[in-house]
Symmetry: D3
Subunit: 237 residues, 6 copies
């Protein structure tokens, strides 16, 4: 049994609070157990310079991620002079994943910024950011549809993410921080609502892993990701 009493194939309690913030086009607080990430989707009426230069039609989505200094038991240094490699990896991952959910041509010459602020970091913050960002994006899209900014829903397929790992020889879903810092293998799976893969990242932290273990992790992820997507699609705005 796991440190918090869960079974290996069980996620923590996952909760979404839509429209947590006053000003962004869309926003959501997402909780995976004690992990809390505050996500916003802000729509701006311009595209990045490289798109303008290429005269590419449609728009863009980009993501930023940050842990607030008080989100960890030891204070995290604020990234005010340069962004760490870890942060960059995460915001690139969140951006790629959410772009895959959109038909970018349908949002017009706009940029959607997904901002993810980690308020409490107890493991799985990058997956929570994808999920919270997806809900903020849904709400921003609904607002844009409601006020006539766009005519057609640009979301082609919802996505969600879950972390997994091998801890003391056992494949487990949705690791909390203590499990994660102890894991032999660490994996993030991002899938869409058709049950296909958007992104797989698996890393041997302490030992390598084989085909059988990979298959077991992928199978564990599949059902739970589908459930999270269902929640994101249906939670009341």
């Amino acid at each position: 049994m796991r440190i918090d009493g869960r079974k290996n194939d069980q996620t923590r309690n996952i909760k979404f609070t839509p429209s947590f913030l006053n000003f962004p086009t869309g926003s959501a607080m997402v909780e995976f157990g004690r992990t809390r990430v505050l996500c916003s989707a802000v729509v701006t009426e311009e595209v990045p310079p490289w798109m303008r230069a290429q005269k590419k039609p449609g728009g863009w989505l980009t993501a930023e991620y940050q842990m607030i200094p008080g989100s960890t038991s030891e204070r995290s240094k604020r990234e005010t002079t340069k962004i760490s490699g870890r942060t960059q990896e995460i915001q690139r991952l969140v951006g790629r994943s959410l772009r895959s959910a959109l038909n970018l041509e349908k949002i017009g010459q706009r940029t959607i910024y997904i901002d993810c602020e980690v308020l409490d970091a107890d493991g799985g913050t990058r997956c929570a950011s994808v999920c919270g960002g997806m809900l903020a994006l849904r709400l921003a899209v609904e607002k844009m549809l409601a006020d006539g900014t766009i005519a057609e829903n640009p979301i082609s397929s919802y996505v969600a993410a879950l972390s997994l790992g091998i801890v003391e020889g056992e494949v487990m879903l949705d690791l909390c921080y203590q499990e994660d810092s102890n894991a032999d293998v660490d994996m993030n799976v991002i899938m869409n609502e058709k049950g296909n893969f958007i992104e797989l990242q698996a890393t041997a932290e302490k030992r390598s892993f084989n085909d059988g273990e990979l298959a077991q992790m992928l199978s564990l992820a599949r059902t739970s990701v589908a459930n999270v997507i269902q929640t994101i699609k249906t939670v009341k705005a």
Copy 2:
């Protein structure tokens, strides 16, 4: 009458939520109307290099402040390569104010970090940061006393802050963003529980002001600051 129906000498609804975060020594969410700032107080077991070099006894308190990108109606650019002059001014002000509340010798060779994350910015965020930071500091001190880290309460005098201004010829308390961006004169008053001044900052934004107007602003601030201090001291942990 003001745009939100308040009288000139009335603050917005002020609300404190203690211990909003899971990990810091102390934390608090503070709301001034729609303005929301999440404050934490994290205690670390080391002092800044310049104190070590001077072999100064006691500890230090420092503050950081940031607006999350989604806190404003137009997205605020994240400060990841350098901190703006405005941000630096605010974090220096918050730090000075809260250091004045402490007997730094009584906290031992430690640094207390006050981190202020502005979640919603509707005016008055620097004053809200001082108030929320004061509560987070109180809670951190209580925890340190409870677990024996320190033996004696280092808080010598609670402080709180309120903004004021002259808007269309009238002196008003606790400006919201729309009032603030329209103000002729802008002022921040920070006082302690003895009713003395810790910091005064008054700026002629559109026109200069005279002794009478200054006196009126100071008098308006006095009562309300005392009320906020009372709340910070007594809100249930």
Copy 3:
């Protein structure tokens, strides 16, 4: 009596040398006792990007401030990779104060740069910068009027600044460095020629202060600021 023999309500010897530099539109060296600041006003034929974007009429004034490394008894590190919080605060203050002296619409689509180089720092450098910058600005305006660049004098009201403090229980005017580093309370008062306030900044360095002390400081500032303004207006170019 004070360390240099002055009375509490006495400034140091204040001296202005107009047109100290060869190239800027206007320039002045200002001395407050041993403190010396070299100020220039350079007029450029363009406005900041944000003004262009907003198609705002008129121009802008901005200020920069720097202490040369040899201006202090211990060498000051040159700020070549980032500007300290203190420097930013000062240059923002100088800029705000001098903008308040100008009708910005009357300078046309131009930017006036006020540059303040502290050659010797013996306290009061930010106030000296405001005063020296005001004279450099006056000289630049006179040159622009003389050569027909502008048709009408844009200076609406001269400004000047003085520092004050409470040192060992006594309110004193125009602190030198040794007094300043010992002060309980530190204040900067910037007023215009109408005798109104442009900016007040008072900080409790070692102890808080009360209404009476504030009143005493403001009264002390009033007469001397008026004298300095008179000098700035009348010193021979």
Copy 4:
């Protein structure tokens, strides 16, 4: 058939030139078709500050990666003020992969720097960097064993990497730049000599992918990675 006449399960011509450089402990030029990466392994007699602080036994390996400006048909801007997110991701990946090949305790209190300079970039540079870095590491280890710096071989398991993708519906091995920029799905597989996974990274570039396609990619990678490992282990120093 592919643009360069290869079959889908065929790599480009892979060639290693050991000891290309004069000064590093170990070095190698690696070529995957027209892609060329120059790798070095430099051993230094110190560990990173965080290891010293934790008094962790053993050593560390870290990697840096850079494309020279002339490595691409349009000149690549040199990264002299900050490292891009892409570069950071790659050097973190190379570092993790090669650390997994080592028993870090056996290298003593040392840091091994793997530096990868991309001279010609025609796709697959991160995988080539892992492979070239592995050979440079082998040669550095052999030198350290020969001169008695270390007593025991610290390489626990050789690793190698290959890129794969789905291009126009077909799973292909070792994409060149033109194939890569056209791929629906992009994957990097890093395995060790036991045939286990060290790192998997699969990204949906233009469309999502399913279990069957994943299985096909993994199977294609397996044989070729084993061949490359064999070459790295046996190429004459």
Copy 5:
């Protein structure tokens, strides 16, 4: 006799490998004994902002220089956050020298980037960079002439560079690293094919030098530079 058996007026073995890289317009590897520098000349269809602003006709040439970390016996730190003074001096020197070889009006509104990557650093890298850059430039010009990008050869006079020094009282040509780090005087001479000077830099490292020594160094440089220019002009593309 010198440490590698050369006579004082003898250069090391100098070798050029044209077109070492796959993608740039022109490229060359140059070797001065164990020193190896990889140079490329990339032509881009735009001029620097300051030229555009001045509407200056013709084009520009600029140079960058970098030592790879593995080019020295102790690893050289990669310059990823700022460029050192030494690097800046060298790239400015290479740029100035090669611009002097060109009639910039004849290259049209283009910028030619000369990139110099030092692979092995055994002294004389800045002179090798000028020579290798000159060959890369020649090859780029020949390509531009061949494909009709330009109509007329813009090279007005070939240039080459050699280092010299006074070591233990003797004037020597083309110092290797060990000689260089021991030199009393260090000199770089850049001349054109007419036998005139383009740039002289002589520095007293350990002692000053007199007219006679200067004359001796200049005379030694003259013949060898002419030989190197001849090679650069005639080496088979």
Copy 6:
């Protein structure tokens, strides 16, 4: 005749004002015609980290150089985020030159900072910086000798610098800005009091130069540098 009526072999009016600043160990204002540079020499009781690491005996001298924004007719941008290549070259040159004047072992484990602030820039600022820095250094040394900080004079040989050029076919001494911006060839000569060379820098700006022209420039420099050295040595403190 030259634009300011001088003969080709004549310098501008050169003037030194010793001890211009209140706080540094030594300081001097130097004027070459309209060019004015304020130099200080500050002695600190520590050596650079690399000297400490090498346990090298003696001390160090380093130089910094800056043009104030108002020193030129168009405002010079202040270098607050990075130092330009030109500035770095100049401060390296000033540092090398003045180090050559000192026996560094005789100053003890100290660092002397030479700071050069260009107040008015009318050509020749780097040479003026060397000369003004030499006087500031002399004064700092005299102070250290007087107060017993050091026992023996560490100045082994005074140095001074002059600029020269070829303008419209004529070799000229000490170019002013207008001459300099028009020069075919630009040269800086730094010599010591023995009449030997410390540093030569000659650059073909618009055309190359030959042996005869070089000889003419060197001869012109010799007498004037000797005169300037004499002034620096004898000007009354």
